[in-house]
Symmetry: C2
Subunit: 550 residues, 2 copies
């Protein structure tokens, strides 16, 4: 399944491109690797075929001229790419497919789609790249709607305008990462927002979910790159003004950022872009303990040096990502600039790392003015592993392994306790759910002066047919641990339908009431992505005690 006019096929069940899904030989090597770690055999299961999927007929007629109820389109728009999505799709369970898929080519089409949904009491689910891992695009909206319409913005993918003086570009919301970069490259510019989903996610999706990107410091979220936004709501088009900053009332854009489709459909945005970097410097610093590596990251985050990369890998992550094999933890440090050489920055960062006990056996790698960067270093290994990781997860799903990642953020003073709490909860829950202690690893993807954003991966052997329940046990346990630790349920994966119980515990009730009021004002028919952030159905359906531990 692909957008109209696109030839390369995306998998209907797994992550990403169909032709990049691991072949059987690779899958067997995955099975061997994971089997060795589990101490038991892991079996490949046969891959699903789209022709075997059974689909109920659509519940509402397809009345929009730019929409379809095609079987393939409905299948492709049923799920995001979270663990339970992959499992259900692998099982060919598409009972909750949307009834209609709209492909707007203009903003007028988006307006018409929302009007049609409102008139038919059809839930409208904005669709970017469909990579949500939190049920943000899942066509499961309860029984109070006549049907579901996915509004896929794939055809709205142009860079419409470039302002080289202010370094800004007006970009349509449906543009995937590579489409944005290829169009900006002709102007010598770049957005430099590189989430793991880069190839398969869109500008509109990034803005709606406050996606985390390339930069470990400063411009960590897409929020920081947004200059103005245009969003179609059911009651009007909301256009914010192009401004570098303003002190006039609460910042409008911040109410759209993170609204996850619950208020309308983002159609375009003016984004802050940059000159392409000419200088790069990077180093992999090894530490005897994870604690020492974290201390290095804290000191660098508080130094005012603002590295583009400051990632911490614990010993297991370092091994899995082929960065270190001796039990050390690693901090990947990198700087980049379009303006100046980075020696002073890198030297100071390395001095900080040394005070925290770091060693840098391979030294600093630098490049400048378009010189070819040596891609054999640890950072390059890590980068490739980073991009391959979602394919690996899909491969593990195809052999019945329970494998997922979750991320959070907390202040530095709480990190030690949080780590202990989460690790304890994860190991306990993995054992309860699977009878195996499983594997847990931790990396830190973004660092702030006041705290880190740790990212955890858990892997455990599943029992056939019970994987989702097993996963749910583990997910609930670690999410409760995050809540107990005063951390956030998500640093950059949004709330969607999956995280809502913990979101409602994390966010003050005053804000939940405020956001419900905003939705009531803008989405009067309550058709916009029902169940995301706010409960589906009539207003007031929210209950405070949704979290699994109350």
């Amino acid at each position: 399944m692909s957008a109209p006019g696109v030839t390369r096929e995306r998998s209907f069940w797994a992550w990403g491109w169909a032709d990049r899904f691991p072949d059987d030989e690779t899958r067997r090597s995955h099975a061997q690797m994971i089997g060795a770690l589990f101490g038991r055999e892991v079996e490949l299961r046969p891959l699903p075929a789209i022709d075997d999927v059974r689909l109920a007929p659509p519940r509402v007629p397809c009345e929009l001229p730019f929409a379809t109820s095609d079987r393939a389109a409905r299948i492709f728009h049923t799920y995001g790419k979270g663990y339970p999505d992959l499992v259900r799709a692998f099982r060919k369970d598409f009972t909750r497919a949307p009834d209609v898929v709209a492909w707007p080519r203009t903003e007028e089409h988006v307006v018409a789609a929302l009007a049609w949904c409102a008139s038919r009491n059809v839930a409208a689910i904005p669709w970017g790249g469909g990579t949500s891992v939190v049920g943000g695009v899942e066509a499961d909206v309860g029984d109070s709607y006549a049907g579901v319409c996915a509004i896929d913005l794939a055809a709205m993918d142009h860079v419409l305008e470039v302002d080289p003086t202010s370094r800004a570009a007006r970009i349509q919301a449906g543009a995937l990462g590579p489409r944005i970069e290829e169009q900006l490259a002709t102007h010598g510019l770049t957005l430099r927002h590189f989430p793991q989903s880069f190839e398969h996610s869109t500008l509109g999706g990034w803005i709606a979910t406050r996606a985390g990107g390339h930069f470990a410091t400063l411009y960590t979220h897409i929020d920081d790159l947004v200059e103005s936004i245009r969003m179609v709501t059911p009651t009007g088009v909301w256009q914010t003004r192009r401004l570098p900053a303003s002190g006039a009332g609460p910042q409008q854009e911040r109410l759209i950022l993170g609204s996850e489709g619950a208020l309308g459909v983002i159609t375009e945005a003016w984004m802050r872009v940059q000159a392409r970097p000419s200088w790069r410097a990077s180093a992999s610093v090894h530490f005897a303990t994870f604690e020492a590596a974290m201390e290095c990251a804290r000191l660098v985050a508080q130094s005012g040096l603002f590295p583009s990369n400051c990632r911490v890998l614990d010993a297991r992550e370092a091994t899995m990502n082929r960065v270190a094999f001796d039990g050390t933890s690693v901090v990947l440090l990198a700087f980049e600039s379009a303006d100046h050489p980075l020696d002073a920055w890198m030297e100071r960062a390395m001095a900080i790392a040394a005070t925290a006990g770091g060693a840098c056996p391979k030294g600093i790698k630098s490049s400048s003015h378009g010189a070819k960067v040596d891609r054999t270093d640890a950072a390059a290994s890590w980068r490739q592993a980073f991009l391959d990781a979602p394919y690996l997860q899909s491969s593990l799903v195809s052999m019945g392994v329970v494998a997922d990642t979750f991320e959070t953020a907390c202040t530095w003073d709480r990190f030690g306790a949080l780590y202990a709490e989460v690790a304890g909860a994860a190991k306990d829950a993995m054992f309860r759910a699977t009878g195996h202690e499983g594997l847990l690893s931790c990396r830190v993807t973004h660092v702030y002066p006041d705290g880190p954003a740790p990212y955890f991966t858990f892997v455990a052997p599943g029992r056939s047919g019970e994987e989702i329940e097993q996963w749910r046990t583990i997910k609930a346990a670690v999410s409760d641990a995050l809540a107990r630790s005063g951390a956030t349920i998500t640093h950059h994966h949004a709330v969607g339908r999956l995280h809502r119980p913990w979101y409602e515990r994390e966010v003050d009730e005053s804000f939940l009431r405020a956001f419900e009021a905003v939705k009531g004002e803008l989405d009067t028919a309550r058709i916009c992505n029902p169940g995301v952030l706010v409960p589906a159905g009539p207003r007031g359906a929210r209950k405070r005690s949704c979290g699994s531990t109350g």
Copy 2:
């Protein structure tokens, strides 16, 4: 008038400390200076005495145990410090004094004050330092309220908790700038938020109005230093969680930041603090033209160097601030760090300045590790003039001069047209209003990769008794010019009652409706700072065509 327990007196009509108001000799020198510029004599007028102020009796009884209806308290809480405030106070016009002034010492007091206001249909105006220049604390709320109660948080001024690991501190909202810094200094920390009002404004006021501070780049607004906020609304206490970052829904704090008291009273916040800087480097770079200076600022803003200061002074500002007297424009560049020497940063910034045609006759000033900084340089001259400026404005008011400043922000591509539009409108309006071409100067206080925040000062001779109308003609003309140029009505002075007509033209109606809905949800009795951001009185009173040019 001062908060209970404070002995140093603030002026009841002019800016700041009563004992720092210019003496008659200084005022005469101001009159000579300004008279020379106008080409006509400017006369000192006699200063007002508080004993001559006539006050109507309070309209509501003073029933809260921590409140007063004292004459001095009511006078002091009538106005902020905008131009029309100074003029009216100078004229001893306090017809709109609040009826009651509450001095809460605890959050329970704040809750009680709001409950009392709601029960009596009394407008509640949160009061920090009372330095609003946009009518944000003005006790003029229309006729639909039984009275007005100013809630002055002066007694809630403690740093309650410090987390040195995460570099954060929990601070009460009523703390003035110096109180914050003196308490943090005992921990070797600093907030480093230094607005021009620093001595007389509070943390709560900064958060409520999204104040602009010390830093010309990166941490330009208080927004960037806020970790979490606690606010008492009429329907509950809103506490956000201490997090370095989160991707869970729209950022809660951003709905409080800039809410200007319209949703409730901020009582405390966890703020991101820093180590005190050990290294500083600064330079004054001179340019033949303002355009060249602006080009330098743009290149530096887009360089990724992040100077703490990157201020542009046009030739008139450079002269007034005693930085240059030869018709050149000046860029004040500075870096500071608690972590590292700044040579590489400063050298690169100077190289950029040179490419834009800048000359630096006095070279770079550096200091490190607590060495005494030479305060005789241009930057120091500018700094002193900066802190004295509000006293000078009050002095000019006392001689009938129409003098005010306003600031905005726009993208770099629009700056040239904006400058021409604003300068033309200001000169035309000054001549229409005063019969004199007046003086206009421009400086840039903050720079972003995508645009600058210019700050304009206008000065013209007033006619006795007509100064406010004259000022209003000029203010409306320049505000209309900002709106026509696509700029913002304020970069860091908030909306208040004064800017609301232009705010309503600037911000999309969808957001205005959304914010009204939030207010309706949280401030059900609509008592919170009525007339700020949202019209006073019953919901729906807003009209779109409030701007003076429709």
